[in-house]
């Protein structure tokens, strides 16, 4: 079907600003991805999948400039023992990073290997992204596969001794960045990946994760800080037998964040948990779009998303559990909730279940609510001032999502950030 003219024009205008990196092992994947973008067209307002979130800023030929956050607070994860890898406006900064060396892990830059003809990542780069394009098109991810110039290729062969931490600095108020990471987890391998930092004025990130049988992938991400920045991120994961996948994202600030997570459970007895906690103030827009496909027996998936919204902030949740025929004994759970701290904020949710197997347990729920007045009075009657009491109840609301973080120290670090964010806004 031909694309509408407006969409075609918008897509052409964006593509005109980009040039496809030529040669090397990724060339075919890039060309295929470019074809996908051209066939799909970049997202527009009339697309069903973008009904609640305006994609304009993410698709415009040039990014809107974004001011840099005043760095009064030390960055998140600073106290964690980790392998630090730094990107500045989308370019790997070797001087600011640790060596690309970690036991049981092979680490390379996408940019460094691009001239080679053969590379292990060739079988993965753009593959999971491509398979995640059905049944719903994700053109921004295809755009990323085609044009991303940097990122990391991470091959994990055993248990990584410490987390790999990707730190995204934003220095140029006009930066427009696409990063593409590929992670391959061998059988039984274990890795924790941390991400933080605003990255760019406009950030498009794709993370493809292949989790082999019995492997475990943990992901904790802190997004935000620079309020004017815009971000579209995609995680594509494929899970083997008895593998475990856990991803948690905290987002504070940001006029536009769209986090998509596409997971396919392909091996029996696997488990996938995706969680998010966001806090938004004013012209904050945050969209969590999750698609989990059960295509094996006895797998478990959980989606836990909590949003705190104030002063007219907007939260969006589109979450789907698809249980294919034969995916018996599936245990699927999905909850999305918002805490609206005033009457101006809004939460838009579209929870979906699509089930083709007959022996499954799937539940979902979605709520919007205000602070519990009885609980607030109880706290105040014990002498806790209104603002602190509200914060305590807000953190309590977010707790179910934070509990999805396995590592207690990381969870604590995230809670500390949330407390600080709330305290800065306390009336």
């Amino acid at each position: 079907m031909a694309l509408p003219q407006a969409k075609l024009d918008a897509t052409d205008a964006r593509l005109a600003t980009l040039s496809l990196p030529a040669g090397g092992w990724a060339e075919t994947a890039r060309q295929d991805a470019l074809s996908r973008v051209k066939a799909q067209g970049l997202p527009g307002r009339r697309d069903e999948y973008w009904k609640y979130t305006r994609p304009d800023g993410l698709t415009a030929p040039a990014p809107t400039s974004a001011a840099i956050f005043d760095e009064s607070e030390p960055p998140v994860f600073d106290e964690v023992d980790r392998l630090k890898l730094v990107f500045v406006d989308g370019v790997f900064d070797a001087a600011a990073s640790d060596d690309l060396a970690l036991e049981h892990v092979r680490l390379e830059r996408l940019a460094d290997t691009s001239s080679a003809d053969i590379h292990w990542a060739r079988d993965y780069y753009g593959t999971l992204e491509a398979s995640g394009q059905t049944p719903v098109a994700r053109p921004l991810a295809a755009l990323n596969t085609a044009f991303a110039t940097d990122g990391l290729l991470i091959h994990v062969t055993g248990k990584a001794p410490k987390p790999i931490s990707l730190i995204y600095h934003h220095q140029d108020p006009q930066s427009d960045v696409m990063l593409h990471h590929v992670i391959r987890m061998d059988e039984g391998a274990e890795l924790t990946l941390l991400e933080n930092g605003p990255a760019a004025a406009r950030f498009n990130m794709v993370l493809e994760v292949e989790v082999a049988d019995g492997a475990a992938f943990n992901h904790v991400r802190a997004q935000g800080r620079d309020h004017e920045r815009q971000a579209a991120t995609h995680i594509f994961a494929r899970l083997g037998r008895e593998s475990r996948f856990k991803s948690f994202t905290m987002t504070a600030n940001g006029v536009m964040t769209r986090n998509e997570c596409v997971i396919e459970l392909t091996g029996d007895d696997a488990s996938a948990h995706v969680a998010g906690a966001c806090m938004g103030d004013g012209d904050f827009v945050h969209d969590d779009t999750v698609f989990i496909t059960h295509d094996a027996v006895n797998c478990e998936s959980r989606q836990v998303f909590k949003k705190v919204l104030r002063n007219g902030a907007t939260g969006v949740f589109q979450g789907k559990i698809l249980v294919k025929a034969g995916a018996q004994k599936t245990d699927g759970y999905q909850i999305s909730q918002s805490l609206l701290l005033d009457g101006d904020s809004q939460f838009l949710a579209k929870p979906e279940l699509e089930i083709y197997a007959d022996d499954v347990a799937c539940s979902h729920g979605s709520t919007s609510g205000a602070i519990d007045e009885d609980a607030l009075f109880y706290l105040r009657a014990r002498g806790v001032p209104h603002g602190i009491a509200t914060d305590l109840l807000t953190l309590a609301f977010l707790a179910e999502a934070v509990e999805e973080i396995e590592d207690a120290a990381l969870a604590e670090e995230i809670v500390t950030r949330m407390e600080a964010w709330l305290a800065r806004r306390r009336g």
Partner: protein, 251 residues
């Protein structure tokens, strides 16, 4: 300590007068009990004194050691030394009991210009007090009142009272939902806190609580007023004859 004069209160949302001129003075070191039939305004009195939304004071005053309570926010009243043990303690999922109590203790200290209590001092104190009330460590760690039995909730109220060391304690039907053993435990907790500088207002339907917490003065409340006051024998009279006779006599 607590002085209530000619207090008139109506519901904010509707034109319904609940308290119609309550006069009551609780002296330091004394235990006053308020008894009365359902709907007489006992719980409203406790909520109005502690500052819950939804009520409008149309006339009269309430002061604690001379400070006008009715002008203050609930947390300011608490910091002045007013404590309400709730009839229905609220469950707060996600907020740890210990975190809650420490926040409360330190918020009150701060409001009074005192130094915050250190984590280790707090822990020492709460453990000792919890032990007296037979509250185990697990209950302290759990979210506030979540999954607590009726007895555990009431004991938790008394633990909060013990930690916050208020000057004026209002106990709103603390005996409701408790069996005899649980009631004894709660009463012992309250009795341990009786002191010369502290006043108590015990609101109850039944005389049985007053077997364990011996009041100095008993008031009978009906239709938004205190209709009769007397010594502990008044509670026994209610127990034996019900409210009808006393109310008939009072009219």
């Amino acid at each position: 300590m607590l002085e209530i004069k000619n207090l008139h209160v109506k519901l904010e949302e509707e034109d319904k007068q609940i308290l119609k001129g309550v006069d009551l003075t609780v002296e330091a070191g004394k235990v006053h009990a308020i008894m009365g039939p359902n709907g007489s305004g006992k719980s409203t009195l406790s909520y109005v004194l502690s500052g819950r939304d939804g009520y409008e004071v149309t006339e009269g005053s309430a002061t604690l050691e001379g400070e006008d309570l009715l002008e203050l926010e609930p947390e300011e009243r608490a910091s002045l030394g007013l404590f309400l043990a709730f009839q229905y303690p609220v469950e707060i999922p996600g907020v740890g009991n210990m975190t809650f109590l420490r926040t409360a203790v330190n918020a009150q200290r701060k409001a009074r210009g005192q130094d915050e209590m250190s984590a280790s001092d707090f822990l020492k104190e709460i453990r000792a007090k919890a032990k007296e009330l037979q509250i185990d460590a697990d209950m302290l760690k759990r979210p506030v009142n979540v999954g607590f039995s009726g007895g555990e909730k009431k004991r938790n109220e008394i633990l909060q009272m013990a930690m916050l060391e208020p000057k004026m304690c209002i106990l709103d039907e603390t005996d409701s939902g408790l069996d005899v053993d649980a009631m004894k435990l709660v009463a012992e907790g309250v009795n341990a806190l009786r002191s010369e500088g502290r006043g108590f207002l015990v609101i109850t339907h039944y005389q049985r609580l007053l077997d364990h917490i011996k009041p100095d003065v008993v008031h009978i409340m009906s239709n938004g007023r205190i209709v009769k006051s007397g010594g502990p024998e008044l509670a026994l009279e209610v127990e034996q004859n019900g409210y009808a006779d006393i109310l008939a006599e009072a009219v």
